[in-house]
Point group: C2
């Protein structure tokens, strides 16, 4: 495909946020920088409204930032890299033969590097394996790859469906089958090593149950004549990570030497070549580097998280003088870079907003990041790790870019339990000090941060449009665990099946603590005269749906709620989260020893306490969400559940909606829902079904739905 | 296909029951008799072990009973009829073009009568609609048909997939989506009337949600120049049946005159042409006929059920002198015919076992039935409705027929609440009076009756083999509701969402009453010296699984249980049975007003009380069954759940297993399970996984399974 000039930005009047503008916000997936000429490649995911699906674009920005050309479009682009010692790029892409590995020249031509003739369906569809792809079902040949630092060796993995015999399944296998809506074939991941033009050597073959093999590219560490890689033990209940060493000459794997870090994450490397980590010492979180010989180097206290998955990265200067780590600052909350010198000095490289998606040359001196903020559209910037200088390179284009920025204010709230929660106040467009506004609190764990229109936080909640329509929007995080060993203990216990804390204490430190944070946000913004506390709504999906469902069944803080694609905390989820549930509830539903714990937290068990109108939007008919809906209806509470469909009946919408028309409709539904319950504005259409239904709910609480009798 | 002589029966020594013999038992689906020459056609469903699926055979038995020829084999044969005023037969069959309507001559040749070019997938598979077919997924063109009494008119229905727009679904639609494991397209049923060689007239088009249109052939009643038919209102929560009249000349439908019975069943017609029914008058169940003019004719008390679905039938002599109704005798329990004379006299036409699958000529004088019993293999018999004479016509062949019959004894037990339960004792092959035997109680509502190897009762429980292996087999029904207005009230209340009885009282009259019946069976057979009360197991699927799960969590009666494909009574089932659950539990799970009712009956909530080892065999990973399994494991009880697969990952085994290899494995598993827990016999294979697992369970109760953490 010949290079195409990216959309030129029309010179026009600043506009106001609409759903179209929100849909136009691109998601940057990958950035790479060429050490040869300083040009920058990036992958952007954008809504293709014509085809009603996401498209991926491969862009090349010239070194001077003046031109931004689209080299390729595809239903999938991933793992964009600058090929070591080459002016070209490599990327996983689907150019009509399933997802394979391609080499892209600086002229925009591409040629296949690795093509697997066997491809396998991945996505939320009958017969597809789940792949965290959040898009249409796709066929994958190659799923991951990595270059050796000198570019001589290529490690890559193919995905294949295992021809499985029809078989009777037992116990845990049956339980696992009940956890999925669509059946998936068994799959295997095959790793190969290719050196120059030699035939590829098989490295290892793993079941796709091995999360390190399937999703983490085997976490390779390159030696000169060997490769260390990770695998995950097959026992899903107590997965063990092992490190193996593949010798290039023998073509065999053996256990890696002790010291090769067995982990689920890429190792974050410090200037000495050791492993960087943050641990609590005497109550203070400190950054340190652990060397293979057992030595440890302390770099002092830090509030940052290293190489957060939302903006990962770690580079080390070849001489070991310094290392750069992408960090998340939990107290702010935003993203930056941390330079760590061999001598022990550390320095934040930062902007008032965030630096995300950074990429550095092998020298670790010259980098490129995306600069973005909660109200600042993304732009590429150059970063010098030597001087810390940051200079604009190129602003991303699109309708969103022409909207006059809203006003946002970063805040930290301390709740009555003494824990801090961070977030932002997004002001109504024409904010009049002294007036009180209806408000919508939007939450998703820790995703209220300095990123622009992040779907991680705002999902199908059109926060910018809420602000245009006269709402105060409160983007609020749960209290961050790193502020206290007490909270960290609770999270650790939750992940470890709850051996240490009584369930009620764990509930208190996690969900009720978050609710206390919401209380302090509403009380404080109300005290300031900003928010009308009688007209506050809450919106959150996934983890945020837990927060929303707990909030409305524990307190009279919110008048309306929109809860997205959740169901954890409902007894129906015990079936496949029994480990978690031991921590949260102390046992299975119906166990008398656990009954008080369920009664204390389970949203559907507390339906009678709800004083909010509760909308649930789901990507699949999740049992827990439906149970909550039915319990609310049975208790006479206004409740609605809406299922957004996949491309065909054989596939589903994904947890993060990928179908643009679904996202549009869901955003409209949310706006109408909050307008109806917080501002008495009926949904459009005098005779619309929705209006009739909602007005009916408001007048007379709905009786529980009766479904026809069947007794299987 | 040329006629094939059916398997000749080898002359051989009587043999003993094996799983092979059980698998060889045919299921008779339809019988028809030719008024022209007295020949008899029947459809038998048999396990095809080579292809591992059920096959349907169309047999023709000569009038003298000497030859039994197979005219056709197919994956589906249904609705076999003698074509009025023709020597030929009609039948729905799949001869390679989906299920269509065929005419079969007395020479065995067949030609299509109606072929719908559009066919639709039916079965337990992705994209298939559920169709009560209990076999491999099939494509259907024609789903039902009926001849006018003179054979001039043919009413038939085709099934088509509706091309549905992708759409967002809401509330009850979302709930419905959560109730199915496989997605199904929306479908429509089109009814047509064909007269002679004229083009077919469209009669009515209905959604397949209309159960009368989809499953009951529209319940036609033929007039001379019109046709009355039924439809079911679209509102699933309160379905209304309407009767419409299709006028042959105008080709239009209009409401049928008052008096046309709006019902979910075919009308049972009496000698006067009115509707026969049984109703309780002054506490006594009486048979009466209701005439269109409002008059009612009383035929006296009866204990029978009319035209039971397991052996339906009703014929009226053309002159109205008498009517014949197939009946089920609830107190026995077996099937017979009831002759009702215009003068008011009634007479049972019966054998000591059962007469099932009867068919009469239009004169209602000459009939054919299947004579069968709990230990008597099926044979065709001729029945004269005038004299009541019954004469043998032809015995069905197969390996099962050569087994020396076991000894069975019909029994009625009265429980401590005063209610009677019927059933049979099947004695061990070499029963020694004075010895006590381990016993297995097999139950499924009311299906312990005089039928031979009925899968309705014995499912994958090899009761004949249990008896060969030295078990006393107790085939036991739940107390039959017709014995008491108190029990009938409970069933009615259950079906009507529980407006009348407190849930605990309903529980007592249904499940606990059944448990009391089991107690009386075990106590009495133990008192008789027949059964060793310390070694009794229970097996039941579907309704029987409710009985088994309740039994083991309420009483110490059984040491082992096999519970098949159930899940009703578990909170997970509330999602799609909220109407029933209002009757059984008084509200949704977690509702404090309902909590005591759940605690009193829900098997998983009572897991800690179980003193039996509980195996669950399922056709799908049913949430309720898995919840019970997990609760048992969490409570440290021996528990196992086994999922039997469909043909491919895209389809499921059916509620009544249709895959012969699954049925075989499930029967073996049941035998091994009971042998292990009741007789200390290990499953075969010293080192088998099963043996290791079961012995581990016996030694040390298993801890709750830990599944990996995920927080959607």
């Amino acid at each position: 495909m010949p290079p195409i000039l990216a959309r030129a930005e029309d010179v026009q009047q600043p506009s106001r946020w609409t759903i179209e503008h929100i849909l136009s916000i691109p998601e940057i997936k990958d950035v790479a920088v060429s050490p040869a000429d300083g040009s920058v490649a990036y992958v952007a995911r954008r809504a293709n409204l014509t085809l009603d699906r996401p498209d991926y674009e491969l862009h090349l920005v010239s070194a001077d930032g003046r031109t931004d050309r689209i080299f390729a479009r595809s239903t999938w682009l991933d793992r964009l890299r600058s090929i070591p010692n080459s002016p070209d790029w490599s990327v996983l892409a689907d150019f009509g033969h399933g997802v394979q590995l391609y080499q892209v020249s600086s002229h925009g031509t591409h040629r296949p590097l690795v093509v697997s003739s066997v491809t396998t369906l991945v996505g939320s569809a009958d017969g597809a394996s789940y792949g965290f792809t959040n898009t249409v079902p796709l066929r994958f040949g190659v799923v991951s790859y990595d270059w050796s630092p000198d570019g001589r060796h290529l490690l890559y993995a193919t995905l294949e469906t295992k021809r499985a015999a029809r078989k009777v399944s037992t116990n845990e296998q049956v339980t696992a089958a009940s956890a999925v809506r669509r059946w998936a074939p068994e799959q295997i991941v095959r790793y190969f090593l290719r050196t120059g033009s030699n035939p590829a050597l098989p490295v290892v073959t793993r079941s796709s149950d091995d999360k390190i093999a399937r999703y983490l590219g085997a976490l390779p560490d390159w030696g000169v004549d060997y490769l260390d890689y990770g695998i995950q033990g097959d026992d899903r209940n107590d997965p063990q990570v092992q490190r193996l060493r593949f010798d290039f000459r023998s073509g065999r794997s053996s256990p890696a030497p002790i010291g090769s870090a067995a982990n689920y994450r890429e190792t974050v490397v410090g200037p000495h070549g050791g492993t960087l980590g943050v641990a609590r010492v005497d109550g203070v979180r400190r950054l340190s580097e652990h060397l293979p010989d057992g030595q440890s180097i302390d770099y002092g206290p830090t509030t940052a998280s290293l190489s957060d998955l939302r903006s990962p990265g770690n580079w080390r200067s070849p001489d070991g003088a310094f290392a750069i780590v992408a960090v998340r600052l939990n107290e702010q909350p935003r993203y930056a870079l941390l330079r760590i010198d061999r001598g022990g000095a550390t320095k934040l490289i930062q902007v008032p907003e965030s630096l995300t998606h950074c990429a550095f040359t092998p020298s670790a001196t010259d980098g490129v990041c995306v600069r973005e903020g909660v109200v600042m559209p993304p732009q590429l910037v150059r970063v010098s790790s030597s001087t810390g200088a940051i200079s604009p390179l190129h602003a991303l284009s699109g309708p969103f870019a022409s909207v006059e920025p809203l006003r946002a204010e970063a805040r930290t709230w301390t709740n009555d339990l003494g824990y801090k929660a961070t977030g932002f106040i997004l002001y109504p467009r024409h904010y009049q000090p002294g007036s009180r506004y209806p408000a919508i609190l939007v939450t998703h764990g820790s995703d209220a941060d300095q990123r622009f229109g992040s779907e991680d936080l705002q999902w199908s909640y059109p926060v910018q449009l809420f602000a245009e329509k006269g709402y105060v929007v409160l983007l609020v995080n749960a209290p961050y665990p790193t502020q206290s060993a007490v909270l960290e203990e609770a999270i650790a216990d939750w992940n470890a099946c709850g051996d240490r804390l009584p369930p009620r204490e764990l509930q208190r430190r996690i969900w009720l603590n978050t609710l206390e944070a919401f209380k302090s946000v509403v009380q404080q913004t109300s005290r300031e005269g900003l928010v009308d506390a009688a007209r506050v709504g809450i919106a959150g999906y996934s983890a945020g749906s837990q927060a929303a469902n707990v909030a409305v069944t524990q307190a009279d803080l919110f008048k309306a709620a929109s809860s997205g694609d959740g169901g954890f905390l409902e007894p129906a989820s015990y079936r496949y989260t029994s480990c978690s549930y031991r921590a949260v509830y102390g046992g299975p539903p119906g166990d008398p020893a656990a009954a008080a714990n369920y009664a204390a937290l389970t949203p559907s068990y507390r339906a009678r306490f709800a004083n909010a109108a509760i909308l649930q939007q789901v990507a699949e008919p999740r049992p827990g969400a439906i149970d909550f809906f039915q319990a609310l209806r049975a208790a006479g509470k206004p409740a609605e559940i809406t299922l957004y469909p996949g491309e065909t009946p054989a596939s589903d919408e994904t947890h993060l909606f990928h179908v643009p028309s679904n996202r549009r409709l869901a955003m409209e539904e949310n706006l109408e829902w909050f307008d109806f319950w917080l501002r008495d504005m009926p949904p459009p259409g005098d005779q619309s079904e929705r209006r009739k239904r909602w007005e009916g709910m408001r007048q007379k609480p709905t009786a529980g739905p009766l479904s026809s009798t069947s007794h299987p």
